[in-house]
């Protein structure tokens, strides 16, 4: 029996990368996220383009899935499916952390909140499902930018407005933040989006280990951080446990 064919494996990896909603990636994004030389990635992309599996936008030069492939079946994860799978775990996250829990996915240039669980106290709260949050400053957005190359290009190329005095805006600092996020496996937002509010988030993967969203909590900085201003490890653990549980649920998925 012959072994696997490397170029086909790479082609499959590129298609997976491009699979999703309105996703467009430049050559360098594709190459770097798969650890390929640019020339190799370009050769594979051109072949896929000839087969109709990939199309190149004539203006930006970015690649997206081709109509031929879409005809074979649209298999990206439905966000409402994601919410249904996350429901039990995010309830538990809100309960164990005492803070409100959120599930976010990339949508256009921001984070779309697809699920929100209230903070478990008796206060009046408003459901934020359907709201958009910034990609560059929130914990959910940083997780998406760190793990999803499409989100990364949106955040890297988009405007990073200074929402508070603590918002990280420079490209180098932002990239360093994403490196830290990847190294730790989670992201934080310490009053970088809203004064007085701190957040923690971690990535959710589907059965192909593709990052499909981020799950996290948000609350008053006095509760999320200890007296020294450091994020409470207990809350980080709760968020990461939840993200793993949702990912496991998706991994055992029925499609």
């Amino acid at each position: 029996m012959p072994g696997p064919i490397q170029s086909l494996e790479r082609a499959a990896a590129i298609l997976r990368l491009l699979a999703g909603g309105e996703r467009r990636l430049g050559l360098s994004d594709v190459a770097s996220s798969l650890g390929l030389a640019k020339g190799t990635a370009h050769g594979i992309l051109r072949t896929l383009q000839q087969e109709g599996f990939v199309e190149q936008d004539p203006v930006s030069g970015k690649y997206q899935l081709g109509a031929e492939l879409l005809r074979l079946g649209n298999s990206f994860l439905d966000v409402h499916e994601l919410r249904a799978r996350a429901l039990v775990w995010t309830d538990d996250l809100a309960r164990s952390s005492g803070e409100s829990a959120y599930l976010g996915v990339l949508h256009q240039q921001g984070v779309l909140i697809v699920h929100h669980v209230f903070r478990p106290d008796d206060s009046r709260q408003v459901l934020e499902v359907g709201a958009m949050q910034p990609l560059h400053s929130t914990a959910l957005g940083k997780v998406l930018a760190a793990y999803d190359p499409v989100a990364h290009s949106e955040a890297a190329e988009g405007e990073r407005a200074a929402l508070t005095g603590r918002t990280v805006t420079s490209a180098a600092d932002f990239e360093a933040l994403l490196d830290l996020t990847r190294a730790r496996g989670w992201a934080a937002d310490l009053e970088e989006t809203w004064e007085g509010v701190a957040s923690i988030a971690a990535p959710v993967y589907d059965r192909r280990r593709m990052p499909v969203g981020a799950v996290g909590i948000s609350g008053a900085v006095e509760r999320v951080c200890d007296d020294d201003g450091a994020i409470r490890p207990r809350l980080v653990a709760a968020v990461r446990d939840c993200a793993r549980a949702v990912s496991r649920d998706l991994g055992a998925g029925r499609f």
């Binding site: 439905d78 669980v117 209230f118 496991r248």
Partner: protein, 528 residues
Amino acid sequence: MTDTPNGTAADSADSGSSHGSGPFIAAIDQGTTSSRCIVFDRDGRIVAVDQKEHEQIFPKPGWVEHDAAEIWTNVQEVVAGAIRKAAQDIPGFTPADVKAIGITNQRETTLLWDRHTGEPVHNALVWQDTRTDTLCRELGRDVGQDRFRATTGLPLASYFAGPKIRWLLDHVDGLRERAEAGDILFGTMDSWVIWNLTGGVNGGVHVTDVTNASRTLLMDLRSLDWDQDILDAIGVPAAVLPQIRSSSEVYGTATIGGLEDVPVASALGDQQAALFGQTCFSQGEAKSTYGTGTFMLLNTGSTPVDSRNGLITTVGYRIGDDAPVYALEGSIAVTGALVQWMRDQMGLISTAAEIETLALTVEDNGGAYFVPAFSGLFAPYWQDDARGVIAGLTRYVTKAHIARAVLEATAWQTREIADAMTKDSGVELAALKVDGGMTSNNLLMQTLADVLDAPVVRPMVAETTCLGAAYAAGLAVGFWPDTDALRANWKRAAEWTPRMDGADRDREYHNWRKAVTRTMGWIEEEEH
């Protein structure tokens, strides 16, 4: 070598987060498709779950049976399984930390067994089983469906246990003689589980609770005792009947699955357990459980409210010696089932969750209304000659509009039940507490709030049925002091507030009712 499976992280234990420490309450949910055991901590959080499905037996069209021996074996296994998982996940857990067991169960499913051997004399007749249709019509005599309604709160329908008992006595050889001699015991699944838990042939207690008894067609809703006239009319010997007890008291003790001499301390039918788990303890509080079908219960306080609008009057719960709490119940046959129909029969979506995605691609129903009267209209109409209709079709309508109409059908059917409840009880719905699988559909929940013109609230624990049984058991043994402590455990996970313009709501409701009238009278000949 074959491919290695991806996602190896999935191999580790499935507990998602840290749990509180003991003590704990265990709840057994003996349901229609499976038996489950869930262990809860004092905050009402889930500590461990185990579940096992049992066989659905279909001997003939319309007949549905369960093997009660298989169910009892499964109950023992899931209790042992849940205790084992709790021991794995919670440092220092011992079975002695479990202070009580509560029972909730599929309602109306009927079993007769031999008190000397403990063996069922026949498979259990499941609530969905329609073999007693003809018998129920005969029992109605010239009065019809409502012959026993004033006493029992129920119409004469094939769901309920009394006629199922009669069928078994008529169709199992020699059974009536054995029953009259006192050798046979009747029970719904709560009685079967409790009798076995407390010793079976070695001194098992033969009891049921007021909520389960209120589904037999044999109990007087006001006296909470078996009604001799109805027993005579249906032909059920009193000797087979269990003692009717409250929903929350110690019936006996059990030694099972590593637990020793643990009090068996609650029993509630599944929908009443959900009412309890949702802490609907005050008059006017209502819950609705959205699954394949939907069951909505409204707490009407200490008086049973007769329904003139096609609802059922039932016991909500009774805690020990307290006064019983009554409820009005409305059921909708097709809610989640309509989404499944769109997926499986129409192929318009590939998962149930995608109905929301499809529906959100348009802003409204495009003038289309979908009345899923697949097997007739239920509450509040009760017309079995009706069949499903999609009304208002034009060339403009797309599958996305139909998806909207599908979700709106669940919302409007809920509205009709809510209106009937208001008419019967005089109580306006202040808010609706929801649970069940469809609560993950955000668009549906918003639509529900819009058409009800009332807030819709989802609690943080999805397993309200098991939680209700755990709460009732915990109250009985003093694990929780009172219902106020249970209310404090109830946490709001989400709330949808009405956003629909009043004039739009009125117009849409008018159109919906117009569509409903189009379903009526479709079946012209009796096709029984």
